[in-house]
Amino acid sequence: MLKSLTVLAGALSATLALSQAAKAADPDPRNWDAVLGEAKGQTVYFNAWGGSENINSYIDWAGETLKERFGVEVVHVKLDDTANAVAKVLAEKAAGKNEGGSVDLIWINGENFASMKRQDLLMAPDWTTGLPNWAYVDHENKPTILTDFTIPTDGLESPWGGAKMVFFHDSTRTPADSVPHSSAELLEWTQRNPGRFSYPQPPDFIGSSFLKQVLIETIADKSKLALPVDDASFSDDVAPLFAFLDKLHPNLWRGGKAYPQNYPDMKQKLADGELDIIFAFNPSEASAGIAAGELPDTVRSFTYTDGTLGNTHFVAIPYNASAKAGALVLANFLISPEAQARKQDPAVWGDPTVLSMDKLSADDRAAFDALDLGIATLKPDELGPALDEPHPDWMERIEGEWLKRYGAAN
């Protein structure tokens, strides 16, 4: 069923690409003064996940700064799921609203980006490399800035922050020397500590990421992950993954009959003592949780020896956005050294920067160096290797397979 729909969509995107050819001129970031002039007085509706008060506060700050400096109003449209914003743009397209859309900037990556790119729902062509602050971006050493889940970004989304899967434990209950350092060790750990580990139920982003982490560690031929799923060998390719899960599930929290909703839910359960090991996509989450009084200060981080998933999250502008110039100004501000340093502060948010320290001025670099990353945050050299995200196709397929196998377990 999914396959036939994908085929439909393929045919469809071809038609859509045609219909979109002729359009009013978009603002050009290479002519920045014109962009600033046009942006003045615009209101940018920034559609971003609103589940974290820390992040919400940060976006508020960015909005206030933008208003002060450039006369651009920023409204944070708080989403509980980024796909809602994608769906909104699609619904507008369905209704023929090719201009004056309700989404101006969208916080995005991975399959949402792949979906919007495939359906030509994004402002094109390349605008990100034209942003003045692109000069600071570390695209040479951070490959995930140019390739989002193996999909070339093609300048359709501008990097905002880095992410890497990191595990947390409470050192009073789980000594640091007993924590697992690979998925295989995790499996053994759960057999010794039944009911104290779980992962958010896919298709939650963090939960799906866990599946991908295991997939990368267990698949026989890792090179396959850079390409779309090969139907012929798919079940063989994922057989080790599901063998792993079959062994893991009986020892999960609640015996795998219920799952945490998402990362913050796992965080709460770590604090409650329901879970002993949790994981997040932001290395400083634990420190931020301690600072907010949500986690005890005995929580510590660890990663896997052979690496964990790493990726980048971005902002993108829908093709029919109402305030494209304003959105460009916001996207540019978000990768300014000032905004990036503030973002990396665990007391504010603690999200890793996408900038290259080498490209910054001495003052800006000092601002980054001065940050106290918190007791529970691993230093960059302790984070271990970053594993590339598989092609988005894999995520969709293993989510479907997961649902088929475990979705009606009761």
């Binding site: 999914l2 699609l90 009959k257 219920a258």
Partner: protein
């Protein structure tokens, strides 16, 4: 009677257009994709393939059956508790106390009550903390599947505690239209027990008055999203939760599947309603056979205590849950098994409050305006019904209840497309209109029975005294029905405050209310922030109901005839 209130003439058609227009377009916008037609996504021919795909989804049948079960069991338990309690305690001091205690519960939004319940009964919840470790010996929460259990028991519990106040209030509103005091006395003097007297003599006319409200409960419980997300089973979840997942799927082609699912949801709710009608028949048969056998059922103490306990539990759970939510909103680190937080902090409030003013203003404006419009339309419709005589137009007005019976989720996508087509998405007036679709039926539902039961001889006397219809309406009818009107307004207000899907879709994220903010933040699962927003979400309707119950007592403090 040729004369009448002139405006009342246009009210019924206008009302129906406001309600049925969005409903019809929304359903069309859902049904067409379900049948394969959505040109923008490449669906240009009709096919049943999406339904075949739907029925191949693992566990789909279980999800659908679970929804039906939840709808029926919730309604049965809640209605049973309310009926048995009214039968048992009507006219006692305990009844008045319970009424004061239960009524404010209606104002608690479903999501807030569900969170409260989860915070209470989870293995790491308040109840377990209170008895640990001194009683249980546990210093870590036990690995027990209580919340999100596969049989949806905790979900039903969450719904029951919220539907009890609703049905209780509806019953209370209908009660004055029966001669309940005399009837109960008569029944008991004939030797029937309290519950038997009530069931045989008072319940049939009473039930007829609250029947549509009961139907709304069946429909709601079988299609609820937020409570299911918080308390419902995971593998598989109830049908509406799966629909939301599909609608949120970044793979936009899943919309076809979601649309087919939305049509299935329509069938699920309809099935639940039909089954309920079956229950009604069975119930009527049982009552009749007991009556014909002349059984007196004098020993009904167990049932009476049971009903009273269930009512008490409903109140305690919701209040307790809200209290725990409030506590979380000001807590610092709070680990198991501590019964109280290690430290307190206003951090969550300080972070949230400044950001709340915008959504708060929108919430109040939309709720106030949609309630006002609903009230005016309802009163004019009922006036028109009175003037033209019952029966005529009565059938058409039944359609007002459709938005309560048709699951929201089944017509929301289509409605969203419509609003964008018209270019009115994210506009304040469109949002008010969208809320009106759901506010109006509830206002009508709560006002129509007291209105119709109002002794029309008062109107005849007024006419004989030379008063025009308009003057009679303003001087006699409206004041006499003040209590019912204010209650209807409070109901409408809280319905508007609680609206999530229509606000998100029509407001397009640009117009946000306290509720959309709360749900967006609930995605973060942060108990402290949930506590802040759920508390605010509870406060607004609570104020509305306080006014509705307090004001008539104040206005008519010297008018014994208007006391209930």
């Amino acid at each position: 009677m040729a004369s009448g209130v002139r405006l009342a003439r246009v009210a019924p058609p206008l009302t129906l257009a406001i309600l049925l227009g969005p409903l019809a377009f929304g359903l069309a916008g859902t049904t067409l994709p379900a049948l394969g037609y959505l040109p923008e996504l490449g669906g240009e021919s009709f096919t049943t393939a999406h339904f075949s795909a739907l029925f191949e989804v693992p566990g789909i049948l279980r999800s659908a059956l679970l929804s039906i079960l939840v709808g029926l069991a919730t309604t049965l338990m809640a209605l049973g508790a309310v009926a048995a309690f009214v039968a048992s305690d009507l006219g006692t001091a305990g009844f008045a106390r319970m009424r004061r205690m239960i009524s404010p519960l209606l104002s608690v939004p479903h999501a807030a009550a569900a969170f409260g319940l989860a915070f209470l009964i989870a293995p790491s919840g308040m109840l377990m903390r209170l008895v640990s470790p001194w009683l249980t010996g546990l210093d870590r929460p036990p690995d027990l599947l209580i919340v999100n259990d596969p049989m949806a028991l905790s979900m039903m519990a969450g719904l029951i505690v919220k539907e009890i106040p609703f049905l209780f209030l509806v019953t209370l509103a209908a009660l004055p239209q029966t001669r309940h005091v005399e009837t109960m006395r008569l029944g008991r003097s004939l030797g029937y027990g309290r519950i038997a007297s009530f069931t045989i003599l008072l319940w049939p006319p009473l039930y007829r008055q609250i029947r549509l409200a009961v139907f709304a409960v069946v429909a709601y419980a079988s299609s609820v999203v937020d409570v299911a997300l918080i308390l419902g089973p995971h593998l598989p979840p109830t049908l509406p939760v799966r629909l939301i997942d599909w609608m949120n799927d970044p793979d936009l082609e899943t919309r076809f599947l979601a649309s087919a699912g939305a049509v299935l949801q329509l069938g699920v709710t309809l099935t639940a309603l039909l089954a309920w009608v079956g229950f009604e028949r069975m119930g009527a048969l049982l009552v009749r056979s007991s009556r014909q056998a002349g059984r007196r059922w004098r020993r009904d103490m167990v049932l009476r205590v049971g009903a009273r306990s269930l009512m008490m539990a409903s109140a305690l759970i919701v209040f307790g849950g809200i209290a725990v939510l409030a506590l979380w909103s000001v807590s610092g680190l709070w680990q198991f098994p501590d019964a109280l937080p290690a430290d307190f902090s206003l951090r969550s409030w300080i972070q949230a409050l400044p950001r709340m003013s915008g959504p708060l203003a929108t919430t109040l404006a939309v709720a106030g305006l949609s309630t006002l419009i609903a009230l005016v339309l309802t009163i004019l419709c009922l006036e028109r019904e009175y003037e033209t005589g019952r029966g005529r137009g009565g059938g058409a007005l039944l359609l007002i209840y459709l938005p309560l019976i048709v699951p929201q989720i089944s017509f929301m996508f289509g409605l969203q497309v419509l609003s964008i087509w018209l270019g009115v998405d994210a506009s304040f007036s469109a949002l008010v209109l969208a809320h009106l679709v759901f506010v109006l039926p509830y206002v009508f539902l709560s006002l129509s029975d007291p209105w119709r039961a109002h002794d029309r001889r008062h109107d005849l006397i007024a006419a004989g005294l030379g008063m025009s219809r308009t003057r009679t309406l303003i001087r006699i009818r409206l004041p006499m029905l003040t209590r019912a009107i204010l209650t209807a307004a409070a109901v409408g207000f809280s319905v508007s405050v609680g609206q999530y899907l229509p606000t998100v879709l029509i407001g397009a994220g640009r117009l946000t209310t306290v509720t959309t903010e709360a749900v967006a933040l609930a995605a973060g699962g942060n108990r402290r922030v949930i506590g802040v927003y759920a508390f605010m979400q509870t406060l607004l309707p609570f104020l509305a109901f306080s006014i509705a119950t307090g004001l008539p007592g104040l206005l008519f403090r010297n008018r014994r005839g208007l006391r209930v």
